[in-house]
C-alpha cells in the first residue's frame, strides 16, 4: 500500500516538474504533499502527517497560488468549460477511491502501529528545548525579512 502511494507521489512530482503551466505545477505539488501525508500516516507518524497536510498541501499551496495570481495576468483566450472540470474531478476522485478501496483488504487496523500523540510534544518541548528557541528566532527573522521584501516602495516627489 505504501509503495502504491509512493508511486502516485512520484508521478505527481514528475507532473509538477514537466507541466508547462505554473498553476498546474503548484497544484501537482499540493497533491505530492497530500500523498506524502498519507505515507506518514502509513508509517505510523500521524503528527508529521497532519502537519504536512495542513502546511504543505494547504498553506504553501495557498501562498503560491496567491503569488501566481498576483503576478500573472489572467488568460481568457482558451477557457475550458466548468462542467468538464467537474466531471474530470469526480472521475479522478472515483479512480483514486477504486484503487485504494481495492487494496484495503491488505491493510488491517493491526498493521498500523500504535501512536502516542503526547510523546512527540514531550520530545519537542523537553528533549529539544535547546534548539527550539534558535529555530523560533530563525522563523521570526524570516518573517521580518518577508515584511521588508513586501514593503511598498517610496515614491519620490520632485
Amino acid at each position: 500500500m505504501t509503495y502504491l502511494t509512493m508511486a502516485f507521489l512520484i508521478l505527481f512530482a514528475v507532473l509538477a516538474i514537466l507541466l508547462p503551466s505554473t498553476l498546474m505545477s503548484v497544484l501537482s505539488l499540493a497533491a505530492v504533499s497530500a500523498l506524502l501525508s498519507i505515507v506518514f500516516f502509513q508509517l505510523g507518524a500521524p503528527v508529521a502527517g497532519v502537519f504536512e497536510l495542513s502546511v504543505g498541501a494547504g498553506l504553501i499551496t495557498v501562498l503560491a497560488v496567491l503569488t501566481i495570481s498576483f503576478i500573472q495576468a489572467r488568460k481568457v483566450k482558451k477557457q475550458i468549460r466548468t462542467e468538464l472540470w467537474i466531471v474530470a474531478s469526480f472521475a479522478a476522485a472515483a479512480l483514486f477511491f477504486f484503487i485504494f478501496n481495492s487494496l484495503s483488504p491488505w491493510v488491517s487496523p493491526s498493521s498500523v502501529p500504535p501512536v502516542n500523540w503526547g510523546a512527540v510534544g514531550e520530545v519537542l518541548w523537553r528533549l529539544r528545548a535547546f534548539d527550539l528557541l534558535p529555530q523560533a528566532l530563525v522563523i521570526l527573522s524570516a518573517v521580518l525579512g518577508i515584511l521588508v521584501l513586501l514593503r511598498p516602495e517610496k515614491v519620490e516627489t520632485p
Binding site: T2, A45, G56, L63, V120, L124
Partner: protein
C-alpha cells in the same frame, strides 16, 4: 515496518535536483526546492521508523516543515519583488542583478 522507501527518497530528491538544475522559471525552482524538502522530511520520518524512534523523528520533521514554509514564503516574496522590477520570472534576467 518492512517497506524499503530509500529508492523513493532518492528518486524524489533526484527529481528536485533535476528541477533546480534544468528549469528557468522561478516558480518551477520553488517546486524543485519543495521536492528536495519533501524528500528530506520523508527520509527523517522513515529513519525514525527504522530506528524505532518515531517521536523524535516526528519532532524533527515538524521543524523541517516549519522552516520549509518560511523558505517558501521568503522565496515567494523575492519572486514578487523580482517580478515588480523585471515583469517576468526568467532566471536569466537575474544575472542583471550581479555586481
Amino acid at each position: 515496518m518492512s517497506e524499503n522507501l530509500l529508492p523513493y527518497v532518492f528518486v524524489l530528491f533526484g527529481l528536485g535536483l533535476f528541477c533546480l538544475l534544468t528549469q528557468r522559471n522561478l516558480i518551477k525552482l520553488l517546486v524543485g526546492l519543495e521536492l528536495l524538502g519533501k524528500a528530506t522530511t520523508l527520509a527523517i520520518v522513515w529513519s525514525g521508523v527504522l530506528r524505532n524512534t518515531p517521536d523524535y523523528a516526528q519532532s524533527l520533521a515538524l521543524m523541517v516543515i516549519a522552516i520549509e514554509v518560511m523558505v517558501v514564503a521568503i522565496f515567494l516574496a523575492l519572486i514578487n519583488a523580482f517580478h515588480q522590477k523585471s515583469q517576468n520570472l526568467d532566471t536569466d534576467d537575474l544575472r542583471r542583478l550581479k555586481g
